[in-house]
């Protein structure tokens, strides 16, 4: 559509050593660090300011969340394997690993749904206390990030035409989607102990 060819949109820049897309995704992740940093800061501030704060394990389902952590870690390795398969030249393996990633992400959301509905069933809502407020807000926002990742990954799994026409570009896209996905995993790695275990 655009007539203008943008330099370094596929090939790495000779000085920085990275293409535009990879730089952009890291900048985006930097802003995400600040987003979740501010939310963690809020959590700390509210918790240290509160006269009492429930122990996460007493209110939330730790076994279910542990399973969910494993599911998300698994999705991270399948994501990186999908990218590695592309690099090794196998589109079919890529698709397989990508499908596994999507299955894990869907599984994560299903488990999250079970957790949420149990909480609602017991009358625990965001308005119940600041503990539940923080719990629902942080996991909810994380869940939205998961959904975003699912959309991107599903698109990359289904529409692979670019692999034949512009292979390096496609590999870059998968790598960038992977960076985002690992970051979502990374956020969960901090959310899990701070909400459930402490």
């Amino acid at each position: 559509m655009s007539d203008v060819a943008i330099p370094y949109s596929v090939k790495p820049h000779p000085v920085t050593g990275i293409p535009n897309g990879k730089f952009a995704i890291w900048l985006f992740l930097a802003s995400e660090v600040m987003l979740f940093g501010a939310l963690f800061s809020s959590y700390i501030l509210l918790r240290t300011g509160a006269p009492s704060w429930p122990h996460g394990a007493d209110e939330l389902n730790v076994p279910l969340a542990t399973v969910n952590t494993m599911v998300l870690i698994t999705s991270s390795i399948t994501m990186v394997m999908a990218w590695a398969s592309l690099k090794m030249g196998s589109l079919s393996k890529y698709r397989l690993y990508m499908a596994a990633t999507l299955a894990c992400s869907a599984g994560f959301l299903v488990i999250k749904y079970i957790e949420y509905s149990t909480k609602f069933h017991h009358g625990h809502y965001p308005s119940t206390s600041n503990f539940f407020g923080i719990y629902f807000t942080l996991t909810g926002l994380h869940g939205i990030h998961i959904i975003g990742g699912i959309l991107v990954n599903a698109y990359l799994m289904i529409f692979t035409g670019m692999w034949k026409t512009d292979r390096e570009h496609f590999e870059n896209r998968v790598e960038n989607a992977g960076l985002y996905w690992h970051f979502v995993d990374l956020v969960w790695i901090f959310l899990f102990p701070s909400l459930y275990l402490l």
């Binding site: 559509m1 655009s2 007539d3 203008v4 060819a5 943008i6 330099p7 370094y8 949109s9 820049h13 920085t16 535009n20 730089f23 952009a24 900048l27 985006f28 930097a30 802003s31 995400e32 600040m34 987003l35 979740f36 940093g37 501010a38 939310l39 800061s41 809020s42 501030l45 509210l46 300011g49 509160a50 809502y125 965001p126 308005s127 119940t128 206390s129 600041n130 407020g133 923080i134 629902f136 807000t137 926002l141």
Partner: protein
């Protein structure tokens, strides 16, 4: 606005363009792709600029209404008052409506006016040209940024129409008042989420473009100062905005899902205890808000400093004094702006240790600001100055910005802030920075780059009328506010005459209000000039100001893809009056 009158030139140019490792036939883009959902940074820049100017004027209009109430409290407003039946029944302004106008004036001016104009408009249009790039690194993302910004703005304005009217808790939206305010506040938060998203996407695009897409020979130390300013600004947007996004999400949860992140326990409203879980901390919002909003102040001023640097260098006809010093000062300024935010919170009882910390950082951040201003002043010394219309605005910027900056010092010191906090003195202080400061720089930029965007110059006589009326009027608006503030008059007062100390300075309110209305009249020549010059302005060459930076190597208006041949940079940005040269300017793009 005509951006690219000559479609054939565009097609020919895209072929000639050297980066071409692409195939595909060129074709004339349909109207909606060329002007509406355009991916051309210049069209997007103009979309941003025009939208932002409209929003700026709208925000100014809100203030004109408020000034009636402040000058003549409780008196019915003739003509216009009778049109606003909801907010001003019988022409008399209601307190709630006054609060809405105040909150929306601030929000619109900052988030819908100046930032989109300075970064979205000027940054988008000028920056890729100045670095010799064919476009932004991500043209589609750039288009997307605009089309997230515009709905954000529309949603923000639409909040006037919801039940209970627009947000009325000030542009700072402090809880607990904002938590329990009418529905307009929820709309405000949703609009902010859109606007923040747009800014984030834009800043990513800017940083990647500046780092990756500079023309051959254009090292970082050869960048025009405007590009440096945009570069630092983008980092501020990228890293400071997310905490406000977090805060907006938390406040949305408070308002929509009933959480009490910002609501303390036992809050009593109109004699009744609020039925929420409680345990929240209203100061949490202030921390997150100011974590953004103080860097935001520098987002407002840095692009303005960039524009002033360009216009000054061009009109003093000699190199800008202390270019590297300017760049270092700007980077330091950007960095420090992240550790000064709580000087807005001296009155919250956060403790003397932290107050002293923030007082110290605030004093430190004034140093780079003074360095920048000093570099500009030394540049003027001994110069044979050309007083073109853009130069008038740029020169006026210097003392105005100085007044704004220096009056900030008493606010940054805890002892004097106790007295001045939340008075009209504060209003005078920051308006000197952003109104005769930033907005004057924006005007300078518009007059300066208009010939690049259209191939025609704006009318000089109208420009001079615009300048002198604006200059006199705007000082009439903001100078008296310092006296009112020192007399103790609080900001955000619906009726200042309810207090004895307010009645003493009430005549100044009449002066201010009439100055505001005069200022509005002064903008009419500009508006006429801006639109009529598109077709009626004097046609000029591609480098009418005899300038040295890369944007003047492109045709006016530049075609899609910008340059006819890939520009190569041979020298520093401001080589004016180099001894032994035939002309008094040596452009970056000319060899030898």
């Amino acid at each position: 606005m005509s951006v690219n009158a000559n479609g054939h030139a565009e097609t020919a140019d895209a072929h000639a363009h050297g980066h071409a490792d692409h195939g595909g036939a060129h074709h004339e883009l349909p109207f909606w792709q060329k002007y509406i959902f355009s991916q051309d940074h210049k069209v997007i820049g103009i979309q941003y600029a025009v939208t932002a100017l409209v929003f700026l004027f709208f925000g100014f209009t809100l203030m004109m209404l408020m000034r009636w109430q402040l000058a003549y409290p409780g008196r019915a407003m003739p003509f216009i008052g009778s049109l606003l039946t909801n907010g001003m029944p019988g022409g008399v302004m209601q307190p709630e409506f006054y609060n809405q106008l105040g909150a929306m004036h601030g929000t619109i001016m900052v988030f819908l006016g100046i930032v989109p104009l300075a970064v979205g408009g000027f940054g988008n249009y000028v920056m890729p040209l100045q670095i010799g790039a064919p476009d932004m690194a991500f043209p589609k993302l750039n288009m997307f940024s605009y089309w997230v910004f515009l709905p954000g703005g529309v949603v923000m304005l639409s909040s006037f129409l919801v039940e209970g009217g627009a947000a009325q808790s000030g542009w700072t939206s402090y809880p607990p008042l904002s938590d329990i305010a009418t529905k307009g506040q929820t709309v405000w938060l949703l609009a902010m989420v859109l606007l923040i998203t747009s800014s984030l996407l834009g800043s990513i695009n800017f940083i990647v473009t500046i780092v990756q897409m500079r023309a051959k020979g254009l090292t970082m130390w050869r960048l025009p100062f405007f590009v440096w300013a945009q570069f630092v600004t983008s980092f501020l947007l990228l890293l400071a905005f997310p905490p406000l996004e977090a805060a907006s999400v938390l406040q949305l949860m408070d308002r929509v899902a009933g959480t009490s992140f910002f609501l303390p326990s036992g809050l009593v409203i109109s004699g009744e205890v609020l039925k929420v879980a409680g345990g929240g901390n209203p100061l949490l919002w202030q921390h997150l808000f100011w974590f953004l909003a103080h860097p935001e102040v520098y987002v407002l001023i840095l692009p303005a400093l960039g524009i002033v640097a360009e216009v000054l260098a061009n009109n003093i006809r000699k190199p800008l004094w202390g270019y590297r010093l300017l760049v270092y000062a700007t980077i330091f300024l950007g960095f420090m702006s992240f550790v000064v935010w709580a000087h807005h919170m001296f009155m919250t009882g956060m403790g003397t240790t932290m107050s002293t910390f923030f007082q110290t950082t605030t004093m430190i951040i004034s140093i780079p600001s003074v360095i920048i201003l000093t570099c500009f002043l030394i540049s003027l010394y001994g110069a044979n100055i050309r007083f073109t219309t853009p130069m008038l605005f740029a020169v006026a910027f210097l003392p105005m910005f100085a007044i704004g900056g220096l009056t900030g010092l008493p606010l940054g010191l805890t002892a004097s802030d106790i007295y001045l906090h939340d008075t009209f003195y504060v209003i005078g202080h920051f308006h000197y920075v952003v109104a005769p400061g930033t907005i004057f720089a924006m005007f300078a930029g518009i007059y300066y780059w208009y010939p690049k965007a259209t191939g025609r110059k704006m009318n000089d006589t109208l420009g001079r009328i615009h300048f002198w009326v604006s200059f006199v009027a705007i000082n009439g608006v903001f100078m008296p506010m310092f006296f009112q503030g020192m007399a103790g008059l609080s900001r955000r007062l619906y009726d200042p005459t309810v207090y004895a100390h307010g009645r003493g300075v009430q005549p100044l309110n009449v002066v201010i209000s009439w100055s505001v209305w005069l200022l509005a009249l002064g903008q009419l020549p500009f508006i006429w000039n801006f639109f009529s010059s598109i077709r009626g302005g004097v046609k000029v060459s591609i480098n009418p100001w005899d300038s040295t930076t890369l944007e003047w190597a492109a045709p006016s208006p530049p075609p899609h893809g910008n340059f006819l041949t890939d520009p190569v940079v041979y020298r520093d940005p401001y080589e004016y009056s180099v001894p032994g040269k035939a002309t008094d300017f040596s452009p970056q793009f000319v060899e030898g």
